[in-house]
């Protein structure tokens, strides 16, 4: 893993010459404005040629449109008379009023201001007070796929939108799994959330009362990757189950006591989906070798959609493969993870504020960042293919 210098200049860093100390006295990395964009960008750009979750399936209806900004693009989401989801740019061709505040009329959406109507392809289908329709009148329409209980949209080149490249989140609607989730509106760049999920060492410090334990930072992990995916695996053998997992073991094995083998296998799929295979099994019963029958297994389903450069939609769910019929356990797990992720949300917001408050400071990396750094490298390549820099911040604004 190599770190190159960030491409963007800042007010406090000299482009070349002697290293300067910023006000806080910390040694700042010298910044070379001519260097290529690097994986260490602090405000990471997002690829546009990608499927992003725009909403839970139940949020998109044929009753009233949903307004949501996806990858910097304001979108109006609704369903036509056949129930198919539609994603149109949320701005009328005429005077740019938001269509999301308009009405759904069967297979058309009507602008709330002057009543122009658009069909699902974004073509204007009705104009007030004239007998014809201006042939130029249309709004961009985005490819949409409904899959895994989510509505996915593609804001990039529509000719590249292949539904087969929607990231795999099959546990979300498989009969072998049960569970539910929520959405966090996170006040941070999407890449900070990916960093958070690609290295779970932070659980020991951020989530000490639920899933954290000191064995996390003591155990080794393994990182593998291909062009679009990164996997980080960590096993902890013969340890005490932390409170969250002890409760789950006792749901499946009433009265369980004793040591467990614990696993966390983090599966990233570009650009923003991370499904984490987590669980514990009775120690020494063969879970590392593949027999998980004496344990409990969950999948933490995460998919992060950049909203703006500094805000994100963080869709998550916790799916389990035991006690499938228990709505009580579904609710308990959802509430439990809600509490855990609330701790992350606070940390991410604070981190983003600190990043913005310290524009002259660079990121440094630890060995534990390997997973997150491979993610950055994959995203960086996607951005390069689109001819866009990895840093979203303009020069001088503390990339």
């Amino acid at each position: 893993m190599t770190l190159t210098t960030d491409a963007t200049t800042t007010d406090t860093a000299a482009p070349s010459g002697p290293v300067r100390l910023p006000a806080g006295g910390t040694l700042a990395r010298p910044v070379d404005p001519s260097a290529p964009a690097s994986a260490a960008a602090k405000i990471f750009n997002h690829p546009r040629n990608a499927w992003y979750v725009a909403a839970w399936d139940h949020e998109v209806t044929g009753k009233s449109p949903l307004a949501r900004t996806i990858a910097g693009t304001p979108i109006a989401l609704w369903r036509n008379s056949e129930g198919r989801p539609v994603a149109l740019a949320d701005t009328c061709w005429h005077r740019l009023a938001p269509l999301s505040q308009g009405k759904i009329l069967g297979d058309e959406i009507q602008c709330p201001y002057h009543g122009l109507r658009y069909n699902a392809t974004g073509r204007c289908s009705g104009m007030p007070a004239q007998e014809t329709i201006n042939p130029s009148a249309m709004v961009p329409s985005f490819p949409v796929v409904e899959r895994y209980r989510y509505v996915w949209v593609w804001v990039g080149d529509p000719d590249l939108a292949d539904p087969d490249t929607v990231p795999d989140m099959h546990q979300m609607d498989s009969p072998e799994w049960a569970g539910d989730g929520e959405t966090i509106h996170a006040d941070c760049n999407y890449q900070l959330i990916l960093d958070n999920l690609m290295d779970l060492t932070h659980e020991e410090f951020v989530h000490s009362s639920s899933i954290g334990q000191e064995e996390l930072s003591e155990s080794e992990f393994e990182v593998t990757h291909d062009d679009t995916r990164v996997t980080v695996s960590r096993w902890m053998h013969n340890i005490d189950a932390p409170p969250f997992w002890l409760k789950n073991m006792r749901d499946k094995f009433p009265g369980f006591e004793g040591k467990v083998d614990r696993w966390q296998i983090i599966h990233f799929e570009a650009p923003g989906t991370i499904c984490i295979d987590v669980g514990v099994a009775k120690a020494g019963t063969g879970a590392p070798e593949g027999d998980r029958s004496q344990g409990v297994n969950g999948f933490v389903m995460n998919t992060i959609t950049p909203e703006t450069d500094r805000t994100s939609h963080y869709f998550w769910a916790f799916m389990r493969n035991y006690c499938l019929d228990s709505q009580t356990i579904t609710t308990q797990l959802r509430n439990g993870v809600h509490g855990v992720f609330g701790e992350d949300e606070d940390m991410l917001r604070a981190q983003q504020r600190a990043i913005d408050a310290n524009p002259g400071h660079e990121f440094y990396s630890l060995n534990i960042d390997a997973g997150g750094m491979w993610v950055r490298k994959i995203l960086d390549r996607m951005l390069q293919a689109e001819g866009r820099p990895s840093s979203a911040a303009p020069a001088g604004q503390g990339a």
Binding site: W93, H94, T121, R123, P135, S136, P140, P143, P158
Partner: protein, 344 residues
């Protein structure tokens, strides 16, 4: 599309010029600030003439190297308003003022079937669309209409690329397009309600298709077209605009428009798109000595027949052609047509 129609002007260099069919010149431009041109986009070119409407729009036939090379193709119009004649004087190495690619004719995603109809040089708007549809694996058909193969640019290329998805209708080979049959075929197809027809060509052809389209009650939004207001039923000729409220009579030469002529004469006229789409320059017609050649797409067919209004930016008047014109009784055969209008 609203989000993509901001016009940014820049310099462009002419990289190549080549005759691709009789009277049709392929011009490859290298813009200063390349951006990829999606199918359906056009660039506006500043002709640098003294007329107010100095710009002309030309479809991007091909975008290469992320838009670093943009191919246009220009047919020398028999009755050019000056645009095509100017474009035909360009030579490799010349510099021009041009816009970034502007999108007002986007190819949609997800229609069950696409029919592209090109009349003459209108093919330039559809070449890139056809390629995109082929790459997508879409169900599509390309219908090419022309007077003669000699003047039909890109016909051979399209046949080579799309094989039997291309249908050729050539007047001088006795295979003209039967518009009624074409639209009936669309209407009878199983996916008719989700079939989109994209057309670009002479206004007569497009009016005929539109008439048949509405006749079959096909959804109007599925009929997509682009016109730069450059095509009329009749060739452009000089005529006179009379504006009694100001006691003015203004001559409109074949190379200019009524809107330009009125503005040049110091009249305060409202307009926006200047290509016959928005209807802002609509005025009342009080009298016609000759016939109005409505070149806009704002007025409906009925409204054009009533001719109570016209769009100043593209429409014209012609003296000949109409056997019923009361004009003939009032003026000698060689006098220019005249249209009397009331300005708002």
């Amino acid at each position: 599309m609203a989000a993509l129609t901001q016009t940014r002007w820049q310099r462009g260099r002419v990289a190549e010029v080549e005759e691709v069919a009789e009277g049709v010149r392929r011009i490859v431009l290298e813009p200063e600030h390349p951006v990829p041109a999606a199918p359906g986009t056009h660039v506006d070119v500043d002709l640098g003439t003294e007329h107010r409407t100095r710009t002309r729009s030309y479809s991007v036939v091909r975008s290469e190297d992320g838009g670093a090379r943009l191919t246009l193709s220009v047919q020398l119009a028999r009755q050019s308003r000056g645009g095509s004649r100017h474009m035909h004087t360009l030579r490799a190495g010349d510099e021009i003022a041009m816009t970034e690619p502007v999108q007002s004719f986007p190819l949609s995603v997800g229609a069950s079937r696409y029919v592209l109809v090109a009349g003459g040089i209108g093919v330039t708007a559809l070449v890139a669309m056809a390629s995109a549809l082929r790459r997508r694996g879409a169900d599509y058909q390309v219908v090419l209409v022309g007077r003669s193969r000699r003047v039909m640019a890109y016909a051979e290329d399209l046949v080579a690329e799309h094989g039997d998805r291309v249908r050729l209708h050539v007047d001088d080979e006795g295979t003209p397009l039967d518009v009624a049959a074409l639209v009936a075929e669309v209407a009878e197809h199983a996916g008719a309600r989700h079939t989109e027809l994209y057309m670009c060509g002479p206004i007569g052809l497009m009016d005929a298709i539109r008439g048949a389209w509405t006749g079959h009650l096909l959804p109007e939004p599925n009929l997509r077209f682009e016109t730069f207001g450059s095509s009329g039923t009749f060739a452009a000729e000089e005529f006179v605009v009379r504006i009694p409220q100001f006691g003015r009579e203004i001559a409109v030469g074949p190379e200019t428009t009524m809107l330009d002529a009125l503005e040049d004469a110091g009249l305060d006229v409202m307009s926006d798109c200047r290509k016959g789409e928005c209807g802002l320059c609509l005025v009342k017609v009080l009298d016609v000595d000759g016939q109005v050649d409505h070149r806009d797409v704002f007025l409906s067919r009925d409204q054009k027949e009533r001719s109570a209004h016209l769009c100043l930016c593209v429409s014209r008047a012609v003296a000949g052609a109409d056997a019923n014109a009361k004009a003939r009784t009032r003026s000698n055969g060689n006098a220019p047509a005249a249209v009397t209008v009331l300005l708002p």
